[in-house]
Symmetry: C2
Subunit: 357 residues, 2 copies
C-alpha cells in the first residue's frame, strides 16, 4: 500500500542506503542529482517514512505517555483533570512530542496497564495522581523508563504537586479562625494520591486544635460533583450539623452547596464551604477555595520527563505553594461556642481576598 525506500531504490536502481541518505540528508553525502531524483520520486509516490521501523533502530519515538492511573472512565470529567491534561498537551506541543493517552484500565488486570506502558511505544510517561502504594508505580520505578508523577502525593522524588498539606491546613485553619468548630470533610477519590493527604491534614489540624472529628464528619467522595451533593445531603440532615465543610475539590464543593441550598440552608449563612483547585467556575460561584497551578504542574512534569530523555537528569520534582482564595462561600460561624479558642487560632499565612479570577 504505502511505498517504501526499497521501492524507491528499485525504481531508481539505487541501494536502499543511498535512498535513506538522500531522504535524510545524511549521515553520508549523496550527489545533488541523485538526491533530487530520490526526493522527487518520493513525493510522487507519496512516500512516508515508517516511524515504527525507524524507532525500532533509534530507540526514540518522540512520544510521551500520560497515564491517569486511577481513572477507569471519564478521565476528563472534571475541570481540574481537563486542566491537568491541557497543561501536558501544551508542553507536548512546545517540545514537538506527541502524547499517548493510556485509557485502557482494567481493574481486574492492573498489570496489563503496565505491560502496555512498558512495551516501547513511549519514551517516557507522566503518571497522574498515583498512590505511592500503587503496584503500577512500583513496576514503572523498577523499569528504566523515564517518568514523573503529576499531582501525586508528597514524598516521591519525581513528583510535581501542590503542597496539599499546606493547602488543606490553610483551609481548615481559616475556617477555625472564623470561629467554626464543627468542621466536616468530603474526601476525593481514595484511589488518588492527593486525596489522602488532604484528609489526613484535615484530621491533624482538627486534633491539634482539639476539635472533634466524629466518623460521620468524613464522607468519602470521588471528586465528582454528584458525590459532593450526596455528602451535602448527609451533612444537612445530621443532628450535629457541621457549620463548615472543607471539600477535597471545587466540584464536590459545588455539590455540597447545591445540597445545602436545596435543603433550605444558606451558604455561607448556615454553612461555610471551602473547595480545592480554584477551577474557573469557583470565581463565578464565589467559592472560597485553595488554588493550585493545575496546568503548570503537569506541564513541568512533562518537560522534566523529556529533559531526562535528552540529558539523563532525572526529574527533580517540585512542590507548588497553595494559595487560599477567600470568596463569598465562607463566613464567621453562626455561634462560636468557644470564643477563647477561636481567638487563639491563627489565620493562615497567605490569603488572597475577594479574588475575581
Amino acid at each position: 500500500m504505502a511505498s517504501t525506500i526499497k521501492e524507491i531504490a528499485q525504481r531508481l536502481n539505487l541501494s536502499i542506503s543511498t535512498v535513506s541518505y538522500a531522504l535524510n540528508d545524511g549521515p553520508k553525502p549523496v550527489s545533488e542529482a541523485v538526491a533530487r531524483q530520490v526526493k522527487e520520486l518520493a513525493r510522487e509516490l507519496g512516500y512516508r517514512p515508517n516511524r515504527l521501523a525507524k524507532s525500532l533502530i533509534t530507540g526514540r519515538i518522540h512520544t510521551i505517555g500520560i497515564v491517569p492511573i486511577a481513572a477507569e472512565a471519564d478521565i476528563l470529567a472534571t475541570p481540574s483533570s481537563s486542566a491537568f491534561f491541557n497543561g501536558a498537551f501544551n508542553a507536548a506541543a512546545r517540545l514537538r512530542q506527541d502524547v499517548l493517552v493510556f485509557t485502557a484500565h482494567d481493574r481486574n488486570k492492573p498489570d496489563q496497564v503496565v505491560d502496555d506502558i512498558l512495551d516501547s511505544r513511549v519514551d517516557g510517561v507522566v503518571l497522574i495522581a498515583p498512590r505511592l502504594d500503587s503496584p503500577a508505580l512500583r513496576q514503572i520505578e523498577q523499569s528504566s523508563l523515564p517518568y514523573a508523577l503529576a499531582a501525586g502525593p508528597e514524598g516521591h522524588p519525581h513528583c510535581y504537586h501542590v503542597d496539599d498539606a499546606q493547602g488543606a491546613r490553610a483551609a481548615v485553619e481559616y475556617l477555625i479562625s472564623l470561629g467554626h468548630r464543627r468542621i466536616a470533610h468530603v474526601t476525593g477519590n481514595p484511589a488518588l494520591g492527593d486525596s489522602a493527604i488532604r484528609r489526613d491534614t484535615y484530621v491533624e489540624v482538627m486534633r491539634h486544635r482539639q476539635l472533634l472529628v466524629p466518623d460521620e464528619y468524613i464522607v468519602i467522595g470521588d471528586y465528582l460533583r454528584a458525590s459532593g451533593y450526596r455528602a451535602g445531603i448527609r451533612f444537612a440532615e445530621m443532628k450535629d450539623r457541621p457549620t463548615a465543610i472543607f471539600c477535597g475539590n471545587d466540584d464536590m464543593a459545588f455539590g455540597v452547596m447545591d445540597a445545602f441550598r436545596r435543603a433550605g440552608l444558606s451558604v455561607p449563612g448556615h454553612v461555610s464551604v471551602v473547595g480545592f483547585d480554584d477551577t474557573p467556575l469557583a470565581a463565578h460561584e464565589q467559592l472560597t477555595t485553595v488554588r493550585q497551578p493545575l496546568q503548570q504542574i503537569t506541564g513541568d512534569a512533562f518537560n522534566a520527563v523529556v529533559n531526562q530523555i535528552q540529558t539523563g537528569d532525572r526529574p527533580p520534582g517540585a512542590r507548588y505553594p497553595a494559595l487560599l482564595i477567600e470568596r463569598g462561600s465562607t463566613a464567621p460561624a453562626p455561634e462560636p461556642p468557644f470564643k477563647a479558642l477561636s481567638r487563639t487560632a491563627r489565620r493562615p499565612d497567605s490569603i488572597l481576598r475577594n479574588a475575581v479570577t
Copy 2:
C-alpha cells in the same frame, strides 16, 4: 536494557521461533515443559515484548489518533472540547485501544501534521472539527488510513456531527418568535468547520425573515469566553444595539452576558442571549442554548474508525438532532417593532422548556 526473545532463546538453548510460540501460545504448538520454562524465565527477566517490532510485522498497533486539526494550543480549553475528548477516551477504553493525541501543530508547516499522522503509528484517526477545505483533510482522504470526522461540517460522508444548520435555525427562529428583529451573532473559530455553518444559517434565516444583518452584527470569535466578552462590549456600545445575540457556543455566550451586565444592561431584560452546546455551566447560568450530544459524537466516530479497521466498512457518518433548551437568558423583545412579522414567525419544532440539566 530490556530483555528480548533472543536473550531468552540463548539462555534456554532454544530458537527464537520456539520462544515466540511459547510466549504467544501459538501459532505453533510447544511442549508443556518448554512453554513453562520460557514463561518463567521471561518473568524473571522482566521481559516485555516490543510492540513496535510486532506492529512492524502485523501492521496493527491498536492505537487511534485524535487530531484537533485547527487547534494550536489549549485544546482542552473549553468544556465542549473536554467533552469531545472524553467521549473518544471512553470509547477507546471500551475497545481497548490507546489514543495518540497529535498536539504538534505548526501553523507554518501544516503538512508536518499529516506526515506525523500517516507515519504508521496509528491504525486510524478521528479528526476533530476540520474544515472541508483543509489541506490536511484532503491528504488523509487520499491516503488509505481509516478516518472519521467528529464535529465537522455538513457534507462529508464520514462525519459525525450535530445538525448545525437545524440547531442554528432553531435558535434564530426562536429569537424571532420572541419578537426580536435586531439579532446579532458571534461566530466560533473560523478555522473550525462547524463555525461557518452556524453563521451561514444565521444569515440565511435572517434574510428569509427579511431582517437586516448589518456587517457589525457578525463578530468573529474563537469559541473562548474572552472573545464573547469582547463581542459583547462591541454590541453593548452600538447605536442600533441588538436586542438578541445568537452565540456560536456557550462559553462565548457567558462572555457576552458578562459584558452586557458589566455595561449595566440586564439579560434577558435588555438583551436575550442564546448559546450552543449545552455544557454543564449552561444549566447553572440559566442559559438558553442548543444542545448537542458532545460525548456521543466523538464516541461514535471513534467506534466507527475501529470498526473500519476490523471489518473494512467505512464510517457511515451520522447527524444528530440539535435540541433548543429554553432557559432564563431569553425573553420577548423589549419593543417588537413589527408586530405583524413577529406573529408570522413560527416557533421552532422542538423546544425543551426550563430544563434543569
